[in-house]
């Protein structure tokens, strides 16, 4: 089983955006996107049941090597950094395209695991886009992975309930937090990970070497503005008799029904 885990270095603190709507990542240290730790934990469990290899893959500058070392300490066998000036400023679509190219350059995988979303972009769109670019099924919001009789089943937390589905190979799985808390690496694993080589793939290593297909220039979307959405809740304390209380609750329920 060849398991590829797409991970991302995210800022470890709040940072501003520059004039082009791009996060100024020089303003804070980086860390492994918390959601990706669940993907790595799932990969580790799958590998221990099925055997095989885990390859952690990320796109970013040289400093993103830090999260690959973290992945290596958490059970990945190889760490691959997609890094090239041509990749800078990619939006969600082009990020997924670049990752898909990286996966193809590495010979593809039986399972592609991702965290459901990142703490910086927070779009939750990369896994879906990645599946489309690779032409393989995508299972999002996975909260449980079950191996039974050689079949791989997942439970997905969807907006209208939980869905159980059988996963064909290859597929993309986007995992959420329900999969169990990620482990903490041992000191020995951390020290081993520091010494391992990180493989770097640039534009010239990818199947599509046309620079126009990467980075900011190829990105069809642009962040124009970010605003904080606040939901105001009004709290009112009423001192009413039991009869008045019952009447008021009934009225609220009826109003709710008529609105909804």
């Amino acid at each position: 089983m060849k398991i590829m885990v797409c991970i991302k270095q995210v800022p470890s603190a709040s940072i501003p955006m520059d004039g082009s709507g791009i996060l100024d990542r020089s303003q804070a240290g980086g860390q492994l996107n918390p959601g990706d730790a669940y993907a790595l934990e799932a990969a580790r469990k799958l590998k221990s049941a099925l055997g095989g290899e885990i390859i952690a893959l990320t796109m970013g500058p040289e400093s993103a090597e830090q999260v690959l070392r973290r992945a290596l300490s958490l059970g990945a066998d190889r760490g691959v950094l997609l890094s090239d000036r041509a990749f800078a400023g990619a939006d969600v679509y082009v990020t997924a395209y670049t990752l898909a190219q990286g996966i193809r350059a590495l010979g593809g995988g039986d399972l592609i695991l991702c965290g459901q979303q990142t703490t910086d972009g927070d779009t939750a769109q990369v896994p879906g886009s990645l599946g489309v670019q690779l032409g393989i099924p995508v299972f999002g919001w996975v909260k449980d992975i079950i191996l039974t009789d050689g079949r791989l089943l997942v439970r997905q937390e969807l907006s209208r309930g939980t869905q159980r589905a059988e996963v064909p190979f290859p597929s993309v799985l986007a995992v959420g937090e329900g999969l169990g808390r990620p482990g903490i690496p041992s000191l020995r694993d951390q020290l081993r990970a520091k010494k391992k080589d990180i493989e770097v793939l640039g534009l010239s290593d990818l199947p599509d070497r046309d620079r126009k297909h990467y980075g900011l220039g190829a990105s069809p979307t642009q962040v124009l503005q970010v605003t904080r959405v606040t939901h105001e809740r009004k709290q009112e304390v009423l001192r009413l008799s039991p009869e008045e209380s019952a009447a008021r609750i009934l009225r609220a329920i009826r109003e709710g029904e008529s609105h909804g």
């Binding site: 860390q31 482990g183 903490i184 690496p185 041992s186 020995r188």
Partner: protein, 433 residues
């Protein structure tokens, strides 16, 4: 500014995190330091005993009033701009607010008591310390200057080095003289005085750069003896200067690990995976350095192997977020114990001569009563919480704790521990000495 009736609006100010509840008639919340001397004089004129409160996060009950009036300093929360790695804060500023402001300049206040909502005035009053006191000292060690108000309501401005004892005599700002060990700074005499000599209104603090490398490693051991052998070896290495990056060494016995395991779903432990099965004890270490910590990490790993640690039975995190995650475990212990509402807790400075075997002594002194033993193993700043399982054990718990305090004192330890004396220890102080 005047005192107000404590009932009904301020009833919660009769308690602190120790779980003790006290009594008081009136309370006042000054919002400027210059109001405090007059408020103290008012209490004196009325013949009232005054309890000084900060953020009421103490675990020894020092902020719990024993009648009369309360002076709460939590509204004195102004912090000046940080200049040249120094900052002046009013007594009510919390450690959390200070660390946040310092962090923006890549600085920090080095002492790290795990409760970040504690106020700086309160921390100075108990001379609070955290796991890294091993390397950076206690709160008082980082204080460069002080605005202090005496029990008479007199205001003192003190700088470190300004009032230092000579020939056994220490001159005070009011011209009086007291006996004090030669070379003792007045600031150090006032730190940890828990309100008996007055209280701080503002403090000038020394800040330090955040170290580039930070590691937290929790080593799990199959046997208690192995953990204590490891801790003893750490002491020796440290003494020999072989582990300069070591900044903390904490011990968790089997019952402490069980407590953490039982409460795995507690919000404080939400980032912590299941603890490994079969561990009898654990030792938590922190390393900090401006450069790579690799040499220190290798020393720790070799010691772990040679003391019977199992290859993968450790958790290692680096960077501030990772270290914070592992510190959560340490922070959770007193909180979980406090939520159990057990009243048999011992906090003291253990006998140095006993070395790490002090941890074994503590468990033995608890007898058949299950006991969580945890804390600063490298300085013998261990704590014990007796967790009796039934009525019979509860009946023996008082006696056992009394014997533990007596044993500590008889062997050169001190009843004064990390959390100060407060009210919790008054009983044990009387009975043990």
């Amino acid at each position: 500014m005047d005192y107000m009736d404590i009932f009904p609006a301020y009833e919660s100010y009769l308690r602190d995190e120790s779980g003790l509840a006290g009594q008081a008639e009136k309370i006042c919340f000054p919002d400027a330091p210059e109001q405090v001397p007059e408020l103290i004089r008012l209490a004196r004129q009325a013949g009232k005993q005054l309890t000084i409160q900060g953020a009421r996060t103490g675990l020894a009950g020092g902020a719990v009033p024993d009648g009369d009036w309360v002076l709460n300093l939590s509204h004195l929360d102004h912090m000046e701009k940080i200049r040249e790695s120094r900052v002046r804060v009013q007594a009510g500023v919390t450690l959390e607010a200070l660390q946040k402001a310092a962090g923006k300049q890549n600085l920090r206040f080095a002492p790290n008591p795990t409760e970040e909502s504690a106020s700086l005035g309160g921390l100075f009053a108990v001379n609070g310390a955290g796991p890294n006191a091993l390397r950076y000292g206690r709160t008082g060690d980082q204080v460069l200057g002080l605005q202090w108000v005496t029990p008479e309501g007199e205001l003192w401005e003190i700088q470190r080095g300004q009032y230092v004892s000579q020939n056994g005599k220490l001159s005070l700002p009011d011209g009086k003289t007291v006996d004090a060990e030669s070379g003792r700074d007045l600031l150090d005499l006032l730190s940890g005085s828990e309100g008996k000599l007055g209280c701080a209104l503002s403090l000038e603090l020394k800040l330090q750069p955040i170290p580039k490398e930070q590691w937290g490693i929790l080593f799990f051991f199959p046997k208690r003896e192995s953990a204590l052998q490891f801790a003893e070896a750490l002491r020796e290495k440290r003494k020999a200067g072989a582990l300069p990056a070591l900044s903390a060494g904490e011990y968790y016995n089997q019952r402490t690990l069980a407590l953490l395991k039982e409460n795995n779903s507690h919000p404080l432990l939400k980032a912590i995976p299941a603890l490994p099965e079969g561990a009898e004890a654990a030792v938590y270490c922190e390393l900090e350095a401006e450069e790579d910590c690799e040499e220190g990490l290798m020393v720790l790993l070799d010691l772990f192997d040679s003391c019977g640690g199992r290859g993968e039975d450790s958790w290692a995190e680096n960077g501030p977020a990772g270290v914070r995650k592992l510190r959560c475990l340490r922070h959770a212990i007193p909180t979980l114990l406090s939520e159990r509402n057990e009243k048999w807790e011992g906090d003291f400075s253990g006998p140095q001569a006993l070395g790490c075997s002090w941890a074994e002594n503590l468990e033995a002194l608890a007898g058949s009563i299950s006991a969580a033993v945890y804390g600063h193993i490298l300085e013998n700043g261990l704590r014990i919480a007796l967790l009796p399982e039934n009525g019979e054990e509860k009946g023996h718990a008082d006696e056992a704790l009394k014997e533990i305090y007596s044993f500590a004192v008889r062997n050169g330890g001190s009843i004064r521990g990390e959390y100060g004396m407060g009210r919790v220890k008054a009983k044990w102080c009387r009975e043990s000495l």
